[in-house]
């Protein structure tokens, strides 16, 4: 049996005495496409960083592909929020894409030909190969997002994590991005984290709502209760309400 893509067992996390996450449980099979939704400050990014091994849980365990996250970096792809990128940094598009290869042993001093090939393919996939010599600071927000995606792809990851993928992307690329993620999902598990319900495209296979704790539904649907709890009140318990398919009924847009 192949290991679960992600396994989060009773994870608690507090920062500076503040409880950020409590009792989070999550089990994701390989090949899933999970969207984690939650308002700002709900702990989404924290949960993401825990799954990436950037942070360590105060309590509980996390496994990615059956291993502790920091022991499987060569199989994990990470696309951070564009706002975290230092835009003055003197680095070219190609050099950023190559960073995705650093999880392979011995890349610290120099990259192999294979790395350049994979970085090139990744840049071509997001239509950024022609910009390869351009400094990262001279790109638009959407272009930079594409480069960050290419960087994650260059690793040939089996699980890809994305933080607010649509935040700085223009409308044109948004559609393209979803097609692209769908294609990626045929090869890798995809986890998308967002405060924006519009990430719920038809490609999302399951949804979880987060506000300190997690409400998980093993389908691309959210119950009214999940939304209410995650977005409006301090969460106390999970109620089983009548589920309705968000993707079909979402009329506010």
């Amino acid at each position: 049996m192949q290991p679960l893509a992600i396994e989060v067992n009773d994870v608690w996390f507090s920062y500076d005495g503040q409880l950020v996450l409590r009792e989070v449980n999550l089990r994701i099979e390989q090949g899933e496409f999970l969207a984690i939704l939650g308002p700002n400050g709900s702990g989404k990014t924290t949960l993401l960083k825990l799954m990436l091994g950037i942070l360590k849980p105060t309590r509980g365990t996390i496994r990615v592909l059956g291993q502790e996250p920091w022991t499987a970096p060569d199989r994990i792809g990470y696309v951070p929020q564009d706002t975290n990128v230092n835009k003055d940094f003197p680095v070219s598009v190609m050099d950023v894409a190559l960073m995705g290869r650093l999880g392979q042993p011995g890349r610290s001093r120099r990259y192999a030909t294979e790395d350049r090939v994979l970085a090139k393919e990744a840049l071509q996939k997001v239509n950024m190969w022609e910009y390869r010599h351009r400094p990262i600071g001279k790109l638009s927000g959407g272009q930079r997002q594409r480069v960050l995606i290419a960087r994650a792809l260059a690793a040939n990851p089996r699980v890809v994590f994305m933080d607010e993928p649509t935040a700085s992307v223009d409308k044109d690329f948004q559609t393209e991005l979803y097609d692209f993620l769908k294609e990626l999902n045929t090869r890798a598990t995809v986890v998308v984290v967002s405060h924006d319900l519009s990430v719920l495209s038809s490609y999302v296979k399951s949804v979880a709502c987060l506000n300190q704790t997690l409400f998980f539904h093993d389908a691309a649907e959210i119950t009214q209760e999940m939304i209410d709890m995650a977005y409006h009140c301090p969460v106390e318990l999970i109620a089983h309400g009548l589920p309705h398919r968000v993707l079909r009924k979402h009329e506010e847009r």
Partner: protein
């Protein structure tokens, strides 16, 4: 300048300036892009504690400074990694405590008439051959470490969290960076003194950053600028009989403001751009 080079101390000074510029340009670049200028200033000042300790215990001052600032840099690395919120306060405290300790220890070292000024503002005109050898060794160390781990340093400086998620050993690299900073700081103390170290660390990379397409390019350009500043500074200080360290810094400052001005003019010309 040519006639000045008849003197051995001037030849040593020139060589010391150039050797310091190599390490300074490389480590200064990493210090600037990693935004640890304040930490490097803290290490530089705390190094005086090591000078005092060396006088007190009777071993070579620069060796004392190197050992002491290595310890201080390790403490600072631990503090900044474990408690980012309060790190600047603790760095500030270590900064002051190191200096105070150095002054008290030299007070207690009877018989020594310590020239405090030479540590505060440098003593580039009195560099013995042995120091040149030590400086070359530090250069070699810096070039080797940064060269061997260049891609990892680049990833860490550009996007630390991604680097961690990708398995780059960010913590050891950070300790190594601060340890190298400590060695380079002590080396630059010879040239411009511990008060002015920050200027030579930050001004060349600051100018270089705007004209560089890669971190490697920024390092190379910083080394070139730093060399230029020390050579011009030395020459002016010889011509007008001025304190070398301070003259070097003022030359650097002149180029710094000139680059700001050029930038502004360029921006004004390009104003119609969207």
């Amino acid at each position: 300048m040519i006639e000045a080079l008849q003197f051995e101390f001037m030849r040593h000074a020139l060589l010391a300036g150039l050797l310091a510029s190599i390490a300074c340009g490389i480590i200064g670049t990493l210090v600037v892009v990693n935004r640890i200028v304040f930490i490097s200033g803290g290490i530089a000042h705390a190094a005086y504690g090591g000078v005092g300790l060396a006088f007190f215990l009777g071993f070579p001052p620069l060796l004392g400074a190197a050992g002491f600032s290595l310890v201080v840099s390790t403490i600072m690395a631990m503090v900044t990694l474990s408690n980012k919120q309060r790190a600047d306060t603790i760095v500030g405290v270590l900064w002051a405590v190191g200096m105070a300790l150095g002054i008290i220890l030299t007070d207690l070292s009877a018989g020594y008439n310590v020239d405090l000024m030479s540590y505060l503002f440098g003593s580039i005109l009195a560099v013995p051959r042995s120091d040149l050898v030590a400086m070359a060794a530090v250069d070699l160390l810096v070039v080797a470490v940064v060269g061997l781990f260049y891609n990892s340093f680049l990833a860490m400086s550009f996007d630390e969290e991604f680097a961690v998620a990708t398995g780059v050993p960010v913590k050891p690299l950070y300790f190594a960076l601060l340890a190298m900073t400590a060695f380079v700081v002590v080396m630059v103390i010879r040239v411009v003194g511990l008060i002015l170290v920050i200027a030579l660390f930050t001004i060349p990379p600051y100018i270089a950053e705007r004209y560089s397409g890669s971190l490697r390019g920024m390092m190379t350009f910083s080394v070139a600028l730093s060399s230029l500043f020390t050579v011009i500074g030395l020459w002016l200080s010889y011509l007008f009989n001025l304190t070398s360290g301070a003259t070097i810094i003022l030359v650097a400052a002149f180029f710094f403001f000139a680059s700001l001005l050029i930038d502004r003019l360029r921006k004004q010309r390009n104003l119609p751009l969207p």
